[in-house]
């Protein structure tokens, strides 16, 4: 379960959220809509503990997010954003490095699984040998999605993941995620295709928010 309980947050004199409350059950879906600057990304970052609310509480997987559990709770979530900054170097080296993190070591790096996913997402297996800096925004995003799928996280935070893609890829990605029945999906987007899915939606306005 993910829950925001009476969350208030402002940056300087700009009030982003005022007493915002929302709850998503495990395996549920939530669509966050709103104009750019309305706080969609900030809301997702708040779930990851990268931004802390001024007041109110954030719950992830039923636990209240705090200093002593934030590092563990982050590992239940996968975050893919619109503008990825991944780094430098070969794609495969990057993926392998992620699997060398202490927390991920129990997951085995399987090259054929990676290649299968690359093909699912219409990237050739040659992508592994490319340099991260040579990938387009849309390609980077798909690599990032694949990485999160390999890590097999429970909760997906998808921040405008389809906005840079063409219609066919959009449909493919939306289908892929909506078929993951047991995962919790929190999606920020103003893409029509997500809105057509009939997910519970929260609309962030410029002053406070409403559901």
């Amino acid at each position: 379960m993910i829950k925001l309980d009476n969350v208030t947050l402002s940056f300087g004199d700009q009030q982003l959220f005022e007493r915002l409350s929302v709850e998503v059950p495990a395996g549920g879906r939530l669509l966050i809509s709103g104009e750019s600057g309305s706080g969609k990304t900030t809301l997702l970052r708040m779930l990851l503990g990268f931004v802390l609310p001024d007041r109110g509480m954030v719950y992830v997987d039923g636990e209240q997010l705090q200093v002593d559990n934030v590092w563990r709770l982050r590992r239940k979530m996968a975050y893919v954003s619109q503008e990825m900054q991944i780094g430098k170097g070969r794609v495969e080296s990057f993926i392998k490095e992620i699997f060398r993190f202490k927390n991920n070591r129990r997951i085995e790096y399987q090259r054929d699984k990676v290649i299968a996913l690359l093909e699912d997402f219409q990237l050739g297996s040659g992508t592994l040998d490319k340099d991260l800096e040579d990938l387009s925004g849309g390609e980077l995003q798909r690599v990032a999605i694949i990485v999160t799928l390999l890590l097999n996280r429970q909760i997906y935070l998808l921040d405008e993941v389809t906005s840079a893609l063409d219609q066919q890829l959009k449909e493919m990605i939306v289908n892929y995620f909506t078929n993951l029945d047991d995962k919790t999906l929190i999606i920020s987007s103003h893409d029509k295709i997500w809105h057509d899915q009939g997910f519970p939606t929260i609309h962030l306005g410029n002053n406070g928010s409403s559901t």
Binding site: R45, L48, G49, F50, L52, V67, V70, W71, R74, R75, M77, A78, Y79, S81, E83, M84, Q85, I86, G87, K88, I98, F101, K102, N103, N104, A144, V147, T148, L151
Partner: protein
């Protein structure tokens, strides 16, 4: 070989005469340097004369404690001027960076004096003050390039850092790529510089020694040793200054503190 002849004050004035060219250019092309040039050249002259007087006494007394104390004062100034030229806050960084300099250049200075030169009294002014000054002066730039690069990259590429955290990296793992790139940025210019040394430029220490009457062969050996010593000192200083500051630079959630940078 005999030592270089002294330069009379009158002839030294001729050296100032050289400034007419850059001054004229600055004036006619309105480079906006005239005032700054006077101040800088004046400071350089004053500081070096003061240094000369100080060195006369440091050499005459040759007291180990005094020599070491002077190197520490130089480190303090080195650290200070490095911080002025960066965007990092004094409060957070001064002490750790100073400590990093102290350990980095201090260790290398001891190694140079004891192992390489193997002089009887390794705390003699000639070695401590002069070699210490060389090490500090030359490692200064790279150290500050390294540490600024590290923190500015984490700030600028914050999304990348947070992305790594979200992928399950612990803090050290998420910082490793930034550490790697900062060290590269600090070491790269020096590595490139080493490759052309002696062809494109005659390094200062060697020039000085030969003017002072040293045998070119000895001067070259000293130069090689000092270049290697500077390189290692700067590598240690950069690594340590990041190591000493990194722990306190992030909050418990792993987020970089905004107060690290000067406004």
């Amino acid at each position: 070989m005999e030592a270089a002849p002294d330069i009379s004050i009158l002839r030294l004035l001729a050296a100032f005469g050289l400034l007419i060219v850059p001054l004229a250019l600055s004036f006619f092309l309105r480079l906006g340097f005239v005032r700054q040039l006077f101040i800088s050249a004046g400071r350089m002259t004053g500081q070096l004369f003061l240094m000369g007087i100080l060195l006369v006494y440091l050499f005459r007394w040759d007291n180990p404690w005094l020599n070491v104390a002077w190197v520490i004062v130089m480190m303090f100034f080195a650290c200070f001027s490095a911080m002025v030229n960066s965007k990092l806050s004094f409060r957070h960084f001064f002490l750790p960076v100073f400590l990093a300099y102290f350990v980095g250049t201090g260790l290398i200075l001891l190694f140079f004096n004891k192992v390489i030169v193997n002089y009887e009294n390794i705390f003699t002014a000639r070695l401590v003050v002069v070699v210490g000054g060389m090490l500090l002066g030359n490692s200064l730039n790279s150290t500050i390039i390294g540490i600024s690069h590290y923190y500015e990259a984490i700030r600028k590429e914050n999304k990348r850092y947070l992305y790594l955290l979200s992928l399950g990296a612990n803090q050290q793992e998420a910082l490793l790529p930034f550490f790697r790139e900062a060290l590269r940025a600090a070491m790269r210019p020096f590595i490139a510089n080493m490759a052309t040394m002696g062809i494109v430029s005659l390094p200062g220490m060697m020039t000085g020694q030969m003017l002072g009457g040293a045998d070119p062969e000895t001067a070259i050996k000293y130069q090689i040793a000092i270049v290697l010593a500077i390189f290692t000192a700067l590598t240690i200083s950069v690594a340590l200054s990041i190591f000493f500051t990194s722990n306190r630079a992030f909050d418990d959630y792993g987020i970089l503190k905004g107060s690290l940078f000067r406004r």
